[in-house]
């Protein structure tokens, strides 16, 4: 843990020295990074800063990739990556995933279209970035949707004929899992069972919560329809690509060697166990932008330091988004 703190301090010091906006923030708050002796005292920045500012802490000409959030509500985040940061993202994500799924690559089904159809590879969206990231533990990739966005049954049966007895990974966004696996796919057209598959999904519950579907519900309907038992939700976001939190068998997200969390109360102090608060995420991955410690607009609950499932890490649940609608004042009309 001490190494983790040292690593974070080293990284944010570098950001402070190289990113003017971040330096303004640290200086205005009189923060002396060297003197921080607890991880919880690491300053956290609001996630919206990546929407309002172009935050870069390496020379601009080193930037070779820009990630953009999907921006469901207004402005989108811009994350600037140099080679080092991009390589680290893959390296760390692979480490987290291998801890869960083992060293051996598994046949991999993606609930979407092939990203190679994309024109501008310099600007890639969150979905594609996630596909590429998770593909590190896969092999024999199969995109379930063809270029006309229809389910490719022929391709799927062909894929399953070779791999149905092996462990298979099915990866997609939470909303796509519901849309494609629950609503669209016709079970009768599958010539092989999906018994050995594990579904990994993430990206937010907004759509499913709108129709009143919880994580438990989703697991149940998937089992009922496709007999898939293992459904793993992950929590991650574009501002800290490379570090994610995986759900355990008891339904809790676990922290890991790459990333930690704190849940903060309405005064931004640490929330008590089982008290709903605001989620702060700390990741050692970012090096080309000051994204190591970020407070999100997500509500979460700290569930303890030890999980009964036996896996290491602090545990927490994510319970929804904060409400931004109620702003009183006379600055503008809408």
């Amino acid at each position: 843990m001490d190494n983790f703190l040292t690593e974070i301090k080293k990284k944010i010091s570098k950001h402070k020295n190289n990113c003017k906006n971040y330096k303004n923030f640290i200086n205005s708050k009189n923060i002396n990074i060297d003197k921080i002796n607890k991880l919880e005292n690491i300053p956290f920045i609001h996630v919206n800063m990546f929407k309002d500012y172009e935050l870069v802490s390496v020379k601009r000409d080193k930037i070779f990739l820009e990630l953009n959030s999907s921006g469901t509500s207004g402005k989108s985040s811009k994350i600037f990556l140099d080679k080092e940061n991009s390589v680290n993202q893959k390296k760390y994500l692979q480490k987290i995933l291998q801890n869960e799924f083992g060293q051996k690559r598994q046949p991999f089904i993606i609930l979407g279209q092939n990203p190679l159809f994309l024109k501008d590879r310099r600007k890639i969206g969150a979905q594609v970035a996630a596909f590429l990231g998770f593909s590190l533990i896969g092999k024999n990739f199969f995109y379930l949707k063809n270029e006309y966005d229809k389910i490719d049954y022929e391709g799927l049966n062909n894929f399953l004929s070779k791999h149905w007895k092996e462990k298979i990974l099915i990866f997609g966004f939470t909303s796509k899992v519901y849309e494609i696996l629950i609503n669209q796919i016709n079970k009768d057209k599958l010539k092989f069972p999906l018994l050995n598959a594990t579904i990994i999904h993430g990206g937010g519950w907004k759509k499913l919560n709108n129709i009143g579907l919880t994580n438990d519900d989703l697991k149940k309907v998937i089992y009922k329809k496709l007999k898939i038992k293992k459904v793993i939700n992950y929590f991650g976001f574009i501002e800290q690509t490379g570090s994610i939190f995986l759900e355990c068998s008891l339904g809790y997200f676990h922290t890991n060697d790459i990333a930690d969390v704190y849940i903060r109360d309405k005064d931004l102090n640490l929330a008590k166990k089982n008290q709903e608060g605001i989620l702060q995420c700390i990741s050692i991955v970012p090096t080309s932008y000051p994204g190591n410690s970020i407070i999100l607009e997500d509500k979460a609950i700290f569930k303890g330091n030890i999980c009964k499932c036996g896996k290491p890490g602090k545990i927490f649940t994510v319970t929804g988004r904060l409400n931004k609608a109620d702003v009183r004042g006379c600055s503008d009309i809408s």
């Binding site: 920045i45 609001h46 709903e276 004042g329 006379c330 600055s331 009309i333 809408s334």
Partner: protein, 402 residues
């Protein structure tokens, strides 16, 4: 009939919340009886109900339009007039979003000045707005307010539609509240040559406190000042244009300043901070701190944070707090304010400074802004003189008879 003009609000794009579908133009007399009666009744209805007391802004409005206060305004208005005064005709009001009070005052301004009113409500589902419009809706059904019902209407429509544009073409006056872009958009629209506009644009407000005088106050008076400062700022989460964000300390010496600690205690008891508000608050604070290199945190208390401004410059108008973020600076004398104040400045609230001194400051040639200089505690008291404008004069026309 010759010269008659009717504005019809029947359109797919317009949702009529309450009031008339058609408004026939007339020129009414300011402070006409039915308008006074209506506002008085509205005030009574709000104040009668204890359950509305938690809506500070609604209550202030109800107090403002109670009978005695309107009578005084009525008297003052006609006392100085030697002409016949009439309303302009039909007004379009576009109040700012999410603040029910502004819509209420805008409507009252229109009624008192003898006008017919079309008021756009940007979000009819806000709690305060719902209460206000609910009461108005009931009152409009009362027989004696038939005239008010015929002449006024509250509507909502999507901003992207042409409704603002179309109505702007037809009305005799517009009362528009909003930020720079909104005002610019409305200025671009076609209006009648005789159309009169009042634009309440976004402004910046500050506070000046004489620290020596503050230290001399008794406990009770200190706490009273804190309460007043709280009312100026927290009632609308510091979002009102007239809420001070930057506090100028005069005669600040080495003695410890307990003003902020006292405010923090008061805020902790009175102000309901939620996770949702904290999110917006921290976002706002981060935006400011990321941008500027001349700020230093001077206090980080439980509910409020204070940042010291190290050098006064033209960017200070962007230092806008939210839900408990303030900025402060120390000054030796008021002369520096001449350089700081510009046309973006609206209200100065003060404590411990002679009113005459402030009047002298406002009169100086180099002071190009400022609309109000009021004691701490009166920042958001809206009135018929607002934002540097005599609203009744702007919304009426004179008929000279010799």
């Amino acid at each position: 009939m010759l010269g008659d003009a009717v504005i019809s609000l029947e359109s797919k794009e317009i949702n009529i919340i309450t009031g008339s579908k058609k408004i026939l133009k007339k020129n009414l007399v300011p402070f006409n009886k039915v308008s006074l009666d209506f506002l008085t009744k509205l005030s009574q209805t709000i104040l009668e109900q204890k359950k509305y007391y938690k809506y500070n802004d609604l209550i202030s409005f109800a107090f403002w339009c109670r009978k005695g206060n309107l009578k005084k305004k009525h008297y003052n208005f006609f006392n100085h007039k030697s002409h016949i005064t009439k309303g302009l005709g039909i007004l379009l009001h576009v109040p700012p979003s999410n603040t029910p009070v502004a819509a209420a005052y805008s409507f009252a301004f229109g009624l008192l000045s003898g006008n017919m009113n079309i008021i756009r409500i940007s979000d009819p589902n806000l709690e305060n707005i719902k209460i206000l419009l609910g009461i108005i809706h009931k009152l409009l059904k009362v027989k004696k307010f038939k005239k008010i019902k015929e002449n006024n209407t509250f509507i909502s429509y999507e901003r992207e539609t042409n409704v603002s544009n179309n109505l702007s073409n037809l009305v005799d006056g517009r009362v528009i509240w909003g930020g720079e872009k909104t005002i610019k958009d409305f200025k671009k629209m076609d209006t009648k040559n005789s159309c009169r506009d009042i634009f309440f644009d976004d402004k910046y407000s500050i506070s000046i406190i004489d620290f020596k005088k503050y230290c001399l106050l008794s406990e009770e008076k200190k706490n009273n000042l804190i309460k007043n400062f709280y009312n100026d700022t927290f009632v609308m989460d510091q979002n009102a244009c007239s809420s001070p964000h930057l506090i100028f300390w005069l005669n600040k010496n080495l003695r410890k300043n307990d003003f902020w600690e006292r405010l923090d205690n008061f805020v902790e008891k009175k102000y309901e901070l939620t996770k949702d508000l904290q999110n917006i608050k921290y976002d706002r604070l981060n935006k400011i701190l990321f941008k500027f290199d001349f700020l230093k945190e001077s206090k980080n208390l439980k509910r409020i944070s204070i940042y010291k401004v190290n050098n006064l410059n033209s960017e200070i108008i962007n230092l806008r707090g939210y839900a408990g973020i303030f900025f402060e600076t120390e000054i030796k004398n008021l002369n520096i304010l001449e350089k700081v104040i510009n046309e973006k400045f609206q209200t100065v609230t003060y404590f411990g400074i002679n009113r005459l001194t402030l009047e002298n400051l406002a009169e100086k040639n180099d002071v190009t802004g400022l609309c109000r200089i009021v004691p701490i505690g009166q920042a958001i008291d809206m009135d018929l003189i607002w934002d540097g404008k005599n609203v009744l004069n702007e919304l009426t026309r004179l008929i000279e008879v010799r």
